[in-house]
Amino acid sequence: MAEKKLIEKYGKKKNLELLRMVLLIRRFEERASQAYGLRKIGGFCHLYIGEEAVATGAIGALDLSKDYVVAAYRDHGHALAAGMDPNAVMAELFGKITGCSRGKGGSMHMFDREKHMFGGNGIVGGQIPVATGVGLKIRYRKEDGVVLAFFGDGAIHQGSFHESMNLAKIYNLPVIYICENNHYGMGTDFKRVSAVQDFSQMAVAYDIEGKQVNGMDTLVVYDEVSEMIKKVRKEGAPKFLEMLTYRYKGHSMSDPAKYRTKEELEDYKGQDPLIILKKQLVEAEQITEKEFEKMDKEIRDLCSEAVQFSEDSPEPELSTLYEDVLVE
């Protein structure tokens, strides 16, 4: 089986690292959802539950000392996968001064300059040219890095995507464009609004290599992105990946998701990235049920600590209002 090979290919340490991250994102989002229900978090809050394999596998394949991540507004998972402190991410959701963006960004604007996490962008597709520009910096300085530009199926019809693909191709920029196709642009089934059903075909128009990937299987995502990264480092040319994935929750916290059937949701829950990865690693005897439970307990504690940290953190002073508008 292909998975068995992948399990051997990357080894126990990496596999458990990936499992740990999928679990961290899942538990973190569960706590975020709970805190939202308690009105500790407000506004738009887009949960990543169901899609964990994509950020985990893709960002897990990066070397963030030289590579970069640019994400859309469903960005909690990417922030955590980039190694951001869960306390700083949760505190940002709580709008506290200890948040990564000092309580000024919120759910859609997770940034960490040190970790090379360049947002967190709330305008659909707005981050794609920005990611392209980070690629330009790498090319300009003749560095070895790669940029992962994440966006959803809703963004792929924006001009920003098409303009960016063209620019990246003509300048040979080291950017991997990753479309996280979770099937719904807010409430609209992508099939209803897309001229093509297989987005990887869109890359053809720009003479860019494109591929469709099972975005529910973390090991497959990790493997495909790792291979693409190798190619990009060697060739310097852009690539495109469509990750077929699914979100369990609504578009945001206020969305009851009535546009899809219970059967569809249940079907995807059968392909749950957490269950799949755990099963693969248990069967390969890289983790026991007991060890998994211990890992889960540690992560739940970590997330509880993040919630507590956020609760205990102070609100930003009103005097911070005019800070960070301009560099003085």
């Binding site: 962008n121 330009l136 303009e163």
Partner: protein, 327 residues
Amino acid sequence: MATIMMREAIRQAMQEEMERDENVLLMGEEVAQYNGAYKVSQGLLDTFGPERVIDTPISEEGFTGMGIGASMAGLRPIVEWMTFNFSLMAIDQVINNAAKNLYMSGGQMKNPIVFRGPNGPAEYLASQHSQALQSLYAHVPGLKVVAPSTPYDAKGLLKSSIRDDNPVLFLEAELMYSWKGEVPEKEYLVPLGKADIKRQGGDVTLICYSKPVRMVLQAAEELAKQGIEAEVVDLRTIRPLDEVTIYSSVRKTNRCVVVDESWPFASVGSHVGWLVSKNCFDYLDAPVELVSSEDVPMPYNHTLELAVQPSVDKVVRAAKSVLYIKD
């Protein structure tokens, strides 16, 4: 001092800053091989090569956003828009990314980038190619907006803009590119946020910026012939606004006319007029006057298009009206 054209002054600023800092690069439509749609970037490709002087496709949102991303990552791009009319294709990138990245990231993501190109009415270009869009950009916190009126100011201000760690909108004008002025051989900077008194006078303050400054100076000469000494304040930078210089002039003359090529509604001119009315209320001997463009899209017909814009005649009349002098 050498007498050079505005386009040469802007080019010198870019050339000097590119020599000084290898993180500075220029990108835009026709900037490299074609040597610039208005020949502003002439020769820069030969000097710096295609890595640093980059021709882009007609893809404003894409290359503007690309410049912003590059600036977040440590470069200092100059993005040339062939005209500000086309910047509307890219305005999401400017307003939602360049202006807000620093704030949304709690101070982590600075954007040292300059967006430059011609803005404002030209001639015979009709509605889509002849409009003054500075008020859109000046409205947005997180941006700086610079609008020189002479080659000297343009060079010094552009050099400061390139060195600034914030996103700067740098407004030029098609009709100004061939204007001549004295520019020192030696390096100099003009600081952002400092207005300049282009003419001293004690009877009325005329506030203006960018291309209209020259016309306003002509109006001041016209007024002088009628015994009225006008003080001409050239804002040079719209945001941040040099309120100190504006108020000290108005408090001296007690009368104020604001001249602005923008449409009148919610414009730079209407805002400056409101600020003066509010902050110099006790000093004013007449309500502040605003000479703006007419509140219509720009017509093609030359007589009509001239009638739309501020003119010597309109400024003279406005100045006399705040002095309560009847024609």
